[in-house]
Amino acid sequence: MTTGHAIVARALTRRFGDFTAVDGISFDVAQGEVFGFLGANGAGKTTAIRMLIGLLAPSDGEAVVAGCNVRSETETLRSRIGYMSQRFSLYDDLTVRENIALYGGIYGLDDAAIRARGDRMLRDLDFLASGDAFVRALPLGWKQKLAFSVALLHEPSVVFLDEPTGGVDPITRRQFWELIYAAAARGTTVFVTTHYLDEAEYCDRMSIMVDGRIAALGTPGDLKAQHGVRTLDDLFVQLARGSAGANA
């Protein structure tokens, strides 16, 4: 396995009975890259991501994330990655600061570090005043930004975001992506799954999954040129319909 890459997947496969959800996908993600992981619903994105973060064991193939084998080194893996789940990871009935304290403590930060990093995070997000607000009282966009920042609290080398911007307005989405860029600039690899094809344009590289396989892999610009389409939207439809056509 090559070192220096943040994520390496080789022929990663996952079967559930006789249904193959992820069918031998292979790709690399460089350190500090913002990688967009796209695909239609049911294409296997969530299963793939769960394998990469050590929640699901692969049926076949290998993957190395942050230098750890996802099969055998899950414990070390977990201390090196961050994760923002689709369904929000923060506790509604705790305050902002209490959530920070919780995850800081879980990742082994001492109280001083928690306070320092928490203050820095809140200042960057312009949340300092809302430190004692209950998470459930925050608007959706703030919750998302907060969840992302908390996922970065322990300064992981790779952070996985599973559809982080669902249901918010375009301006908030733009702000969110600025946070992602800031993290990438600091050297964190960001692995993002999304439905929004305009967000895919923001990524350094991207892939599109169709029926468990990777149907496209490369920079947005390259892919558009390769397939002779003007927008990623068209690319997506072409690939997805291609699969539908093949299955018809």
Partner: protein, 376 residues
């Protein structure tokens, strides 16, 4: 204690303190249960409705009827010269028992010093009928003695006196026969069980439903740390509830406390491990809070009915009693009653403590193992 565990514990306590539903359940429910249930749960037969069919109508028969009326345990619901209305009353539920004194009662007594009466019981509730029959037998026997004394038979002079035997009865450990003394310890145990098992299951399933469980699974927390963080607060709360319940039992119900409270606390601590383990196990087989509640409720009902809480363990057929030995409730309720009512010491309850330790360990290990398999 590791930092992660401390952080998790802090979160657990914060959440519990802030959830109004949980708080209400933890504080209101036990008190309510103890007060309502302890008063409702009695098998005592306070008064029985007696229907009288007096076909003799002599002072002797009237005397017997008076004895029943004056006993304080029977209320005359009605009377009739024939059985018909009595049958109707029994059918309607207007009478619990019918006493028939046949014609010739008095003359039989004078002539042969023996007579017969008939009692018909509504035996739908067999146990109650049995108790009522016991009361009736006492009244009738006492009446027989009274009659004998009133008209002593001429005894041919014999050299030696006939022997006399006087039977005295006493109930130990619950001299006042207050049913609540019997029920309250058991209800207390059931309460603590419900808190421990139900709250544990709901707590974990709620995180499953909200999606925060996934988030925690991705962190470096070991499953054992996570489980410890979930169980520890509820263990402490369960012990606290137990103490609260004991105080209520003593102060409100006047349940005696012959033994040492510390012994009971030790038993409760061990017992709770098993109860929490069951909750943990339930959380691994259910997906929603509603399912968790349902399964817990169903399981607890089986446990409670087979624990000797409401009905005596001795009433079970032997093979059922053997199966019931795996029920930790059975041992703990037995231990609680023994310590509170009979003043049992450590040596006396060693078997129960041993059983609780074994059962608790087995349950907890199985639950943890299953959790590890299913979660990560």
């Amino acid at each position: 204690m590791s930092r992660a565990l401390r952080a998790l514990l802090r979160k657990e306590f914060l959440q519990i303190r802030r959830d109004p539903v949980i708080l209400r359940m933890l504080l209101v429910m036990p008190v309510l249960q103890l007060l309502v249930l302890a008063n409702a749960a009695t098998f005592e037969v306070k008064r029985s409705l007696l229907w009288v069919i007096d076909q003799d109508r002599t002072p002797a028969s009237q005397g017997l009827i008076e004895r029943f009326r004056g006993s304080g345990r029977f209320v005359i619901a009605g009377s009739s010269p024939t059985a018909g209305p009595a049958d109707a009353a029994l059918l309607r539920g207007d009478a619990d028992v019918a006493l028939t004194i046949p014609a010739g009662f008095a003359s039989d007594l004078t002539r042969a010093r023996r007579a017969t009466v008939q009692l018909s019981f509504d035996a739908v509730n067999g146990s109650q009928a049995g108790i009522t029959q016991g009361y009736s037998a006492e009244i009738i026997a006492a009446y027989a003695d009274e009659l004998a004394e009133a008209s002593p038979r001429a005894i041919p002079t014999v050299r030696r006196q006939p022997p006399t035997i006087e039977i005295q009865r006493r109930g130990w450990y619950n001299a006042s026969l207050d049913y609540r003394f019997f029920m309250v310890p058991g209800i207390l145990v059931q309460l603590v069980t419900m808190v421990g098992t139900l709250m544990t299951a709901l707590n974990i399933v709620r995180e499953k439903e909200a999606g925060t469980l996934d988030q925690l699974n991705v962190t470096p927390i070991r499953p054992s740390v996570f489980i410890a963080a979930k169980l520890l607060p509820l263990w402490i709360i369960g012990l606290f509830e137990f103490c609260l319940g004991m105080v209520i039992a003593r102060v409100v119900f006047g349940v005696p406390f012959e033994g040492t409270p510390v012994l009971l606390l030790v038993g409760a601590a061990i017992y709770l491990l098993g109860a929490l383990g069951v909750g943990l196990w339930i959380s691994t087989i259910t997906e929603t809070q509603q399912q968790a509640l349902f399964v817990t409720f169903a399981l607890l009902m089986v446990y409670i009915l087979m624990s000797g809480l409401f009905t005596p363990v001795r009433g079970m057929p032997d093979w059922v009693r053997v199966i019931a030995q795996v029920n930790p409730l059975l041992h703990f309720i037995g231990m609680t009653r023994a310590v509170m009512l009979r003043g049992a010491q450590l040596l006396d309850v060693l078997p129960q403590l041993g059983a609780l330790s074994v059962i608790g360990t087995v349950i907890l290990t199985a639950a943890v193992r299953r959790y590890r398999k299913v979660a990560a």
